[in-house]
Symmetry: C2
Subunit: 228 residues, 2 copies
Amino acid sequence: MIIETPDHDSDLVDLDVKQVEGLIWAYRARAIDLKKDPRFRYILIFKNQGESAGASLEHSHSQLIATPIVPKRVMEEVEGAGKYYEYKERCIFCDAIKQEIADDERVIVQNDAFVSLEPFAPRFPFETWILPKKHLPAFETIKKDEIPLLASILLETLRRLAKALSNPPYNYVLHTSPVDDGYADEYHWHIEIMPKLTRVAGFEWGTGFYINPTTPEDAAAYLKEIEI
Amino acid sequence: MIIETPDHDSDLVDLDVKQVEGLIWAYRARAIDLKKDPRFRYILIFKNQGESAGASLEHSHSQLIATPIVPKRVMEEVEGAGKYYEYKERCIFCDAIKQEIADDERVIVQNDAFVSLEPFAPRFPFETWILPKKHLPAFETIKKDEIPLLASILLETLRRLAKALSNPPYNYVLHTSPVDDGYADEYHWHIEIMPKLTRVAGFEWGTGFYINPTTPEDAAAYLKEIEI
């Protein structure tokens, strides 16, 4: 558990950039430390905001869980990226970022080090990803001077989502390379933000596919234009 | 969409066995018909009960969606069963059913053709499966005289869940073999009922693993004893 603020009534979006920098430093410090423990294969960092997104405590917080195996969903993503790398000898995330920035149809915000965008095939309306522009497999290798840039893009993205969707409940999950460094070429860390606007029901449980009524282009245009 | 009753205020558990038989006949008829269409690779039958389980209509109904590809989750289950078959030359579901009936720790109800049980490693509290005791890969091959038995075990299981958990929202999904009949040896159709008691949050999204605070043995004991 990582407490984000001493103030019980503030949410993450109410903090200033300096406080969010502190949060990212805490993520980084805990990840670096836990990576030293040979029992762990993966360090999962995530946040549940709002009761219907599964937050069981009111006070604004993130969670970190180190797992003794690489989780199923992480392996699927890593293996998918691995197949692309085998075929193209390039990182699929790097390729997507380049194309998204050139297209500029799904990008919401960017700065020197990061870009925030609606992915090409989002599972959920307003699903938003934040990715480092440079190829970096593991989150905890983030540089000191990149932390303020991540803090500001995370805060701006969450504020745009909060304003556009009236403070929706949401989950975000930091996707990073498994502890084993064998995925340096093909994997690229990022944050996936999933506002809780639709419900996962029988179709999704039965298929693993997601019905999403909102195009990423519409969501991006709306998030970009909204005044915060 | 399959309407389960002409009465707007009845839920599935309020129907009598004859009406539920009619529902199963409808599932079967639609599945047999859609299987003839060469565009389809999978026939998904499911039900969302209650708003928080994703039901968007009040009137009691089930849904059937034919998909032009085999869904991801179906392929995962089929491939898992295939690996077991390669190794043991037996169906994993048949083996599990035999063992569960012998153990009698997670079984809730059974009749000549079907068993209803808490699976050994449930994702959710009170997750309940109904399986044919005989090895049958595809649901729509159900025999005429098995339909009343399925109707009665489905109804009794849902009533026990409704009584034990005060009419919880739930999803059920009928897992059946893909349209292509290449899985006859290893696959075994069944129904998975998932009451909506916990929330899928960052941990589940990040890992594909599920935190379940209730053991299947406790859930089974409770469901078996409750008077309906």
